[in-house]
């Protein structure tokens, strides 16, 4: 039973070797099939591991036989289980989509499987330096996958991401160096055990944790460290966009979760409320101004991560369950949205909303799945976004300023999705020539692309219709108990909150499409950060958080 844990990391790496080897040695060209078989094996293994983890037992695995504190231990507890589950399900769905698109060589599947294996390892490990190595594996695989199409915009997006992420990982190494100088061991549980002896020097410990958080925070995209995300997720190939936006930013945030929860520093956790609320607002405002459909979705990833981070900052067990529930829901509906928009771009080749207006009426299946995704992210009742956004808003009741910022972010979400859904409603712009050439778009969608869209919409609807079961499952997995408070999902106050967001969002949209509104939107779209200013923001963000902590934090 214990060996199954390490097989979850080894199987993607072995399968990645096989995708290259079978072409050169045997001449077989079945790379997508190999990848899908390997990922399904990992899913089966994960389902085998569910019963012991659900009963509350943490499976520990000593790598190489060396015990703590010398060796590296791999922990499979509830948090790792949920993260691996999200990673493997979304990876499987994206692999089906890329198989349907039929234009990726075997090298693409090689790096995709390395990305999956690296993400599994990053979330399960209990040693800080091992976490650094796995995050670098994930980073290198994602740089290559983003630059896959070799157009200049993708290459520059990948290069920007490379510089910003390497700078961030340098800060991560700085944090590890400070921790090693204080304690002399690298494993997280060992440092938590020695923390009582470190009371005189606890400021250095907290600065080390801030460095670690800034390091992984570059990949998790919160406020000063988010500037690489819109270009990278918008100019990547479609299955890569969905797995980066759906899984990688979440797993980076779950690593921060693990570090802060094991090392138990409540004063650092409260900073996240303000970072999260401000990130949510910033993402929503910039999302309204864009005209490229994938960039709107990428800015919304930033905004929803702000929700999750704000939920994590309020350190009650209720808000932790809410935050993790929103992580699960956001992976499902963000991948669904990226893949639906991906089908539209695959069929037409165009990306701007003005050129694509009204096209979606020709492909009703994709219109339905996009509608499920859009209603989920806006927080409309029967879908899963409503349940998790309600929980996060309820847990922020004690911080009225953050609650207000998150409310404005929800309004902004409604507005930009009314703007994005112009692709799927309204009249067709008759000046576009490609409408005249091809009449029947419905038959051109490959069958392999229909299966992932269908699965993701079904999962969105299921997790939305049974919120009590899902939150009960999550709280059993991460807290080993059921939450005691009553969760009135369909009470009147939460419902009217959602209704107010809808009304304000609609009125804001009508305000934007006037002439003055579009001038403001054009101005917002043109202010994009250059590479030098993004890098300066990372360094300034680190210094700001350290100064903020030194001025306000108590010595815990």
């Amino acid at each position: 039973m214990n060996n199954l844990v390490i097989l979850l990391v080894i199987i993607p790496f072995l399968a990645s070797f096989l995708t290259l080897f079978e072409k050169y040695a045997f001449g077989i060209e079945k790379a997508p099939q190999t990848a899908i078989v390997a990922t399904s094996c990992c899913l089966v293994l994960l389902l085998f591991l569910f019963p012991p983890v659900f009963k509350g037992k943490t499976i520990e695995y000593f790598l190489g036989g060396w015990k703590e504190p010398v060796g590296i231990t791999i922990y499979m507890d509830g948090l790792s289980w949920i993260a691996s589950f999200i990673g493997i399900v979304i990876g499987l769905v994206s692999l089906f989509f890329s198989w349907g698109e039929k234009k990726y060589e075997h090298k693409f599947y090689f790096f995709f499987l390395i990305l999956l294996g690296g993400m599994e390892g990053a979330i399960m490990t209990g040693d800080i330096f091992n976490m650094f190595v796995f995050f670098e594996i994930v980073s290198i695989a994602s740089y290559i996958l983003i630059a896959y199409s070799k157009k200049t915009k993708s290459l520059m997006a990948s290069f920007n991401y490379l510089l910003i992420s390497s700078l961030g990982m340098g800060f991560f190494l700085l944090g590890i160096a400070l921790l090693y100088q204080q304690t002399g061991i690298f494993s997280l549980r060992g440092i938590a055990g020695l923390k009582n002896q470190l009371i005189p020097n606890t400021r250095i410990l907290n600065i080390a944790i801030i460095s670690l958080v800034v390091g992984i925070g570059v990949k998790a995209a919160f406020f000063p460290l988010h500037t690489w995300l819109p270009d990278a997720h918008a100019f990547a190939p479609h299955p890569v966009s969905s797995i980066l936006s759906g899984v990688m930013i979440k797993i980076s945030f779950l690593a921060i979760w693990r570090i802060i929860r094991i090392l138990d520093t409540p004063s650092l956790q409260h900073i996240f409320i303000w970072i999260g609320a401000f990130t949510a607002l910033l993402g929503a405002i910039f999302a309204i101004a864009q005209s490229d459909c994938k960039k709107i979705l990428a800015y919304h990833s930033i905004s929803q991560m702000g929700f999750i981070i704000a939920g994590f900052g309020v350190a009650t067990s209720f808000s932790l369950v809410a935050s993790l529930y929103h992580i699960l829901n956001h992976s499902l509906f963000k991948s669904l949205l990226f893949l639906s928009v991906g089908v539209v771009i695959y069929l037409t080749g165009k990306r701007k909303i003005d050129e694509l207006a009204g096209f979606g009426n020709k492909i009703p299946f994709v219109k339905v799945t996009f509608l499920v995704g859009a209603l989920s992210i806006c927080g409309v009742p029967p879908f899963n976004g409503y349940a998790s956004k309600t929980l996060i808003s309820t847990s922020l009741k004690d911080y009225p300023l953050a609650y207000f910022l998150i409310f404005i972010a929800s309004v902004g979400t409604f507005t930009s999705f009314i703007k994005l859904s112009r692709i799927f409603r309204g009249k067709i712009n008759q000046e576009n020539t490609f409408y005249k050439e091809q009449k029947n778009f419905k038959e051109k969608i490959p069958k392999k692309m229909i299966f992932p869209l269908f699965t993701l919409s079904a999962l969105c609807i299921i997790t939305g219709l049974y919120p009590e079961t899902t939150t009960g499952l999550i709280s059993r997995l991460i807290l080993n108990e059921k939450i005691k408070t009553d969760l009135h999902f369909y009470s009147l106050s939460n419902f009217t909150g959602s209704l107010f967001s809808l009304i304000f969002g609609l009125s804001f949209y009508l305000l934007i499409i006037t002439q003055k509104g579009s001038k403001v939107m054009n101005f917002l779209r043109k202010t994009r950060p250059t590479l030098n200013s993004s890098l300066l923001l990372v360094v300034a963000g680190f210094l700001l958080i350290v100064v903020f902590y030194l001025l306000t934090g108590k010595a815990t």
């Binding site: 060996n3 390490i6 070797f17 190489g64």
Partner: protein
Amino acid sequence: MRESEIVDMISRKLSPYILLFALYLISYGHLSPGGGFQGGVVLASGVILLCLARGEGFVKRKLPPKALSLVETGMFFIFILMGLAGLLIGGYFLENFFLPGKIEKVPTESFIFFLNLVIGLKVGAGITLICFYILKQEET
């Protein structure tokens, strides 16, 4: 791209000693500074010295890139197999199964020696391939 006579002759005389030094670094990695990665990089630098002196067409005829690719991916596979062998015997992944309790008559250091050898060959082949690709880009 052929350099002058002095550079050409000295690099041809020096290059085998660099390869021998790389082998020394790889095999004594568990006792003195060195090991898999360092030996691999020195191995690659020995090959690159010849490339710079004689032009890469000459080196590519002796060390074809397809064979280097095969070495690189094969060594990755052998590394994972050595890790999995620990699982088969009943221990953990990447465990040193030559310890006296499990397999006798083989010295304990041979595990790390094999791993160093595998990593050294992989890194040498990998960095040589990187430099082949960069030099090919420069000519076109």
